[in-house]
């Protein structure tokens, strides 16, 4: 059976992609950010997961407002990155695991999640930045098969935080029932607090983000008391992306350890966070 060995929460802003492209990891602006990923790199190198389920949102590359799914899951053997219009260099294609994707979709639809199934989908920086953050080395990256799970955090209504946590739980169950000897990680990406639009652009919220990170392991339900509208006020309209971390968290169950955590303001216009959980149940 497949084993969900751990999960990572991580930012996915395009500026990180630029920094990686230009090798700025030791630059004073970037060092406090990238240093937070060292435990993740070591863990990934040690564990060598076979498959990554990557929870992210599309920012206008693959999906337009004509057809905006709440939850879309890729079921392709390859996912292409592409020009997003403002200059981030497209990365090499990512290898999918369609058999696993179909198993996941089948299990989730059976458990009453209304998935949009994508046999062809472009993945944008929300997907590629976490991939190059987790596996900066192209060769290591190529050895991980991916399943993109795209969440609507662009056009209201977004899924509720509660629904995201439940989706995570159902993913955990689906992974555990996949009849292949595979080590799987799940990545919840986006956030943390940030606001890109409006007069309040540049808004962040250290206090809230810190509490979120603090409670994520033992009390993830804490976030559920806020509606997405309230979250938009507290952490900015794009900060609401943090609900995607709950999908990751929900998948892991409660027998987990937090191995590392980092928080840094600013990366571009955002507060950036990273957290690494290991599944003790495995």
């Amino acid at each position: 059976m497949a084993r969900l060995i751990g999960g990572v929460g991580s930012s996915h802003v395009p500026a990180i992609g630029n920094a990686l492209e230009q090798g700025l990891q030791s630059d004073p602006y970037w060092k406090p950010f990238f240093d937070g990923y060292k435990p993740v790199w070591n863990w990934m190198e040690d564990k060598k997961p076979d498959v990554a389920i990557l929870v992210y949102n599309d920012h206008g590359l693959n999906f337009f407002l004509d057809t905006m799914p709440t939850f879309a899951i890729g079921a392709a053997s390859e996912y292409q990155n592409a020009d997003e219009g403002w200059g981030l260099k497209p990365l090499d294609p990512f290898q999918g695991d369609p058999e696993f994707s179909w198993h996941l979709i089948d299990s989730l639809v059976h458990d009453e999640f209304d998935i949009t199934m994508c046999q062809e989908m472009l993945v944008d920086h929300g997907f590629t930045v976490p991939m190059s953050l987790m596996w900066p080395n192209q060769k290591a990256r190529d050895q991980v098969k991916v399943i993109p799970l795209c969440v609507n955090v662009v056009q209201y209504p977004f899924p509720t935080a509660r629904r995201c946590l439940k989706l995570g739980e159902a993913i955990g169950k689906a992974v555990a029932s996949f009849d292949k000897d595979l080590d799987v990680v799940i990545l919840g990406t986006g956030g943390l607090s940030h606001q890109l639009d409006g007069e309040r652009a540049g808004h962040t919220n250290r206090a809230f983000d810190t509490e979120f990170l603090e409670k994520l392991k033992s009390e993830p339900e804490w976030l559920l008391k806020y509606s997405n509208y309230e979250l938009a006020e507290i952490v900015g309209p794009q900060g609401v992306e943090m609900i995607m971390w709950l999908i990751m968290r929900g998948a892991l169950g409660n027998d987990i350890q937090e191995l590392s955590r980092n928080y840094h303001i600013p990366i571009s216009n955002t507060a950036a966070g990273v957290i690494l959980f290991e599944n003790d149940a495995i």
Partner: protein
């Protein structure tokens, strides 16, 4: 929308919900087309004709012409699609952040750095 009914507006913030999404549909659709280099070139070659092709309103065209992000937002633009438009003029997320906040780029960056140094950013 029921889930937003009766809510206090969030200062300096527009929620991109159904009404705004409808208002900005054509504008965002045009911006979505800028994922492709050939469309960016066609826009650059003849901005007016390109806006006309997507059926933008007069107000939207004026806002496009002046690269006025707050105006574009109030006309239904979504920030992710708009970024593809402003990107063509060499404006990145921090440039348009500063423009919207009504401060210089240096001030905007300084504000973010300051948020990184306080305990309640």
């Amino acid at each position: 929308m029921k889930s937003l009914a009766g809510k206090e507006p969030i200062p300096g913030t527009t929620i991109f919900e159904g009404r705004m999404a409808m208002k900005g549909y054509e504008l965002n659709k045009m911006c979505f087309s800028f994922n492709k280099a050939e469309n960016r070139e066609a826009f650059m070659a003849n901005e007016d004709a390109y806006c006309a092709r997507y059926g933008l309103t007069e107000a939207q065209r004026t806002a496009v012409k002046s690269r006025d992000v707050l105006a574009l937002l109030s006309l239904g633009g979504n920030i992710y699609y708009l970024a593809k438009l402003t990107g063509m003029f060499g404006l990145n997320m921090q440039d348009i952040g500063a423009q919207q906040a009504g401060i210089s780029l240096e001030e905007f960056k300084a504000r973010l750095l300051a948020a990184g140094e306080t305990k309640n950013g």
